[in-house]
Symmetry: C2
C-alpha cells in the first residue's frame, strides 16, 4: 500500500475571520478524502496578499496538492492571483481571449462591463485556465515541482462544480496514480448520532486500516468509511465488504448511499411507485416544499402544497374543522392528520404530508413546549399515519429537524 497523497486548503477572505462560516473546508475535505487524499491542514487568511502568499508557500511545503478558494473576484480586495504569483515566483499576464469571454458573459447581465473585471483575466504563467460557467471568476491550475496548486472562486455554486469537473480528476491523475480508494457513505435518518455510533463500533473494529467519520446535521447522520487499496479489484471488494458490514449494523436507518439526500431518496421512491405528493406546512413555513423541490426533476412527483401559517388558512384552505382546532389546538396529532388529508384533496395528490409544531422561541406552553412537532401522512383509501416528536434546540434546528422527520416519515410510508 502506497503513502496517501497529501492535500492542504487555503481559504481566502476577511469575511472568514469576521463571522462568516467556512463551509468549503468541510465540503472539500470530505471529497479529497474520498479520493484517497490525506487532508493535512487548512488555513483561513484575510484579503491580504502577504498572508495569502505565506499560507500558499507553507501549504506547498506540507502537501502535494494545495487548493486555494476565494479572492478571484474583480474588486480591490481580491488578491489571490497576485499572492499566488508571488508565492511561486511567477508572473501574471493578461489573457486577451479570456478577457473577451469574461466581457461577453458580463454583457448578458448588464449594460456596461466595469473595467475592474479585467483583473479576472490575468493568468499565472504556465497555468491552465478553468472555465466558470456559473460566475465571472475563472479558476487556475498549475503544476510546479511535482506539486499542484489550484485557485478556485469563493462562492460555492462556482467553486463546487469547478472542483468536481476540472480539479479532482487532475489531482487524481497527478498524485493518486496507483492508489485506489475505496469509499462508502451511508446516509441515515430517524436515528440519533450516538445510537448510530454505538451500532457502528464493531464495524470500526473490524476495519483497523480504514478511516471513519460520523457527521450529523439537521437531524440526518452520515457515516463515511474510506481506505486505500492497491488495485481496482481490491477497491471494489473492500468497498462491497465495508458496505455490507455498515448496512448490517444500521441498514434500517439508511435512506441512501453516497451523495443521495433524503429528499432525492424520497423522490426516487415516489417516482418508482408512480405516486404524487403534496405538502401542508405550518411551523416549517415552506421548508418542506423547498427541500423537496431542491431536487431537479421533482415536478415528476411533487404537485405543490399549502403553507398554512395562520389557523384560519388551515380551516379555509385545508378544510381542517374549526371544532378540531378549538378542541385539540393547531399543534396536535389530530390537526396534522387533518392537514395531510386536506392538502391531499386540495392539491390533488396521492400522498399528503403535513407538519405542525412549535418552532419557538416564543409560543411554547407547559403542555405544548417549544420543539413539540407532529407529522402526518395521508394516502389513498383513508390510509393515514402520524408521529409525535420532541426536538431540542433553537428555532432553526427545530424547523430543519421537523422537515427531516417529515421527509423520513414519508419515505417510510411510500
Amino acid at each position: 500500500m502506497s503513502r496517501s497523497p497529501r492535500a492542504a486548503l487555503v481559504c481566502v477572505g476577511s469575511e472568514l475571520l469576521a463571522g462568516q462560516v467556512n463551509t468549503h473546508q468541510a465540503w472539500l475535505s470530505l471529497r479529497l478524502r474520498g479520493a484517497g487524499f490525506d487532508v493535512v491542514g487548512e488555513s483561513s487568511v484575510p484579503d491580504d496578499a502577504a498572508a495569502i502568499s505565506a499560507a500558499i508557500r507553507r501549504s506547498l511545503k506540507a502537501a502535494d496538492a494545495v487548493l486555494v478558494c476565494g479572492g478571484l473576484g474583480p474588486t480591490f480586495d481580491d488578491l489571490t492571483r497576485e499572492a499566488a504569483a508571488a508565492a511561486l515566483g511567477r508572473t501574471l499576464r493578461l489573457d486577451p481571449g479570456l478577457w473577451a469571454r469574461i466581457r461577453a458573459r458580463l454583457r448578458r447581465d448588464r449594460a456596461c462591463v466595469p473595467e475592474e473585471n479585467k483583473r479576472q483575466a490575468f493568468v499565472l504563467s504556465g497555468a491552465k485556465v478553468l472555465s466558470n460557467p456559473n460566475g465571472s471568476a475563472p479558476g487556475q491550475m498549475i503544476a510546479a515541482r511535482g506539486k499542484t496548486l489550484a485557485l478556485l472562486p469563493g462562492p460555492a455554486p462556482e467553486m463546487c462544480p469547478m472542483f468536481q469537473r476540472a480539479v479532482l480528476p487532475a489531482l487524481r491523475r497527478r498524485h493518486a496514480l496507483g492508489i485506489f480508494p475505496a469509499a462508502f457513505t451511508a446516509r441515515l435518518s430517524g436515528v440519533p448520532e450516538s445510537v448510530a455510533d454505538e451500532r457502528l463500533a464493531p464495524v470500526r473494529a473490524r476495519w483497523p486500516r480504514a478511516r471513519f467519520t460520523i457527521l450529523t446535521a439537521g437531524g440526518e447522520v452520515s457515516f463515511h468509511a474510506s481506505l486505500t487499496t492497491g488495485s481496482p479489484a481490491e477497491a471494489r471488494q473492500a468497498r462491497a465488504a465495508v458496505r455490507r458490514d455498515v448496512l448490517a449494523a444500521v441498514g434500517e436507518f439508511a435512506h441512501g448511499e453516497g451523495e443521495a439526500t433524503l429528499e432525492s431518496a424520497l423522490g426516487a421512491r415516489l417516482k418508482a411507485k408512480g405516486l404524487s405528493l403534496a405538502v401542508a406546512e405550518s411551523c416549517t413555513g415552506g421548508l418542506l416544499g423547498e427541500r423537496i423541490t431542491a431536487v431537479a426533476g421533482s415536478s415528476d412527483y411533487f404537485r405543490g402544497g399549502v403553507i398554512a401559517y395562520a389557523n384560519d388558512v388551515k380551516v379555509r384552505r385545508l378544510g381542517v374543522p374549526a371544532r378540531l382546532l378549538a378542541r385539540h389546538g393547531a399543534v396536535s396529532e389530530e390537526c396534522a392528520r387533518a392537514m395531510a388529508r386536506g392538502v391531499r384533496r386540495a392539491v390533488g395528490a396521492d400522498l399528503g404530508l403535513a407538519v405542525t409544531g412549535v418552532a419557538g422561541p416564543g409560543g411554547g406552553t407547559k403542555t405544548k413546549p417549544v420543539g413539540l412537532v407532529f407529522v402526518a401522512a395521508a394516502g389513498p383509501g383513508r390510509k393515514e399515519a402520524a408521529r409525535r416528536l420532541e426536538i431540542n434546540g433553537p428555532r432553526e434546528a427545530v424547523r430543519q429537524r421537523a422537515a427531516t422527520a417529515a421527509l423520513r416519515f414519508a419515505f417510510d410510508q411510500v
Copy 2:
C-alpha cells in the same frame, strides 16, 4: 489611534479535515472583532502534536492572542497540552488539586474514573487553569513575552461559555485597553456586488484607516466597515460618520443595518404598516415562505401561501385562468400577476407576492431560458406590479436569487 491588537485561531481535530463544519472560527472571529481585535488568521490542524505545535508557534508570531480549540480531552489523540508545552518550551506538571476536582466531577456521572482522565490535570508551567462547568476538560491561559495563549475545549457548549466568561475579559484587559472599536454594516439587495463596490470606492478612499469587507450571498450584498478609536465618544462619532457616508453612496439599496436580514426588514415594514402577506410560489417551491418564517414572530404579518408547482394547482388553487396559462405560459409576467392576485384572495392577505420561473437545469427553451424569473405583487385596490429577472447560475442559485428578488420587490412595494 492605537494599532488594533491581533488574534489568531488554531482549531484542532482530525474531524475538521474530514467533513465536519468548523463553526468555532466564525463564532470566535465575530466576537473578537467586536471587541476590537483584528483576527489575522485561522488554522485547522489534525490530531498531530507536531502540526498543532507548529501552528501555535506560527500564530504566536503573527498575533498578540492565540486561541486554541480542541484536543483537551482525555484520550490518546488529545495532544494540545503537549503541543503547547513544546511550542512555548515549557513543562507540563500534574496539578493534584485539579486532578481531585476532575475526579470528583466524573464520579457524579459514572462509577469509576478512567486513569486516562489524569492527562487532563496536566498544566503548563505558569498557566492559569480555566474551570469548565460543562465538561471534564479544563482550559488553560498563559501570558508569555507580552502574548497570550489560551487553550479551550472543543465542544461548543464547553468552549463558548469559557471564552465569554474567562478568556475575552482577560484579552481585553491585556491587549485592548484604551481601544474602542467602531463598526457599521450595511445590508444591500437589488444591486450587483460590483456596482455596490464601485459606488463605495470613494467611501473607502475617505476612510484610509478603516477596514472594509464586501460579501455577497444569494443575491444579497453586505458591506462591513470597522475601525478602532481612542475613546467611546470618538467611536460613536466615527460610526455615525461612516454610516452617513455609506448610506449616501448606496442608501437606496440598503434594506437594513447590522444583523438585519432582508426578511426581517420586510417583516418590520409590514408590521409597522399593519399589513399582512401571502406568497404564491412556483420555481422556489416554498423557499420564499421558508425565509419569511425564519424570522421569529413572523406570524404577526405572514398568513401563509400556496406552493403551486404543477400548473393545474395554479388554476385550481390560485384561480389563474387556464386560457392565460395556455396563451402566455406559466413562466410569464401575466401568470406571476395572476398568482399574486390569486393568493391574496385565497389566503386572505393585504399583499400577495408571487414567483414563477425556470430554475433549471432542465425546462429551459429559447424564449424562456433557465434563469428567467418573474416576480409580482398585488395589493389592495387592484394595485399591482411585476418584474422580470434573468438569473445566471445553477438551480440552487436561481432559486435563492429569485426569492431574494421577490423579498426585495415586496420591500419596495410596502
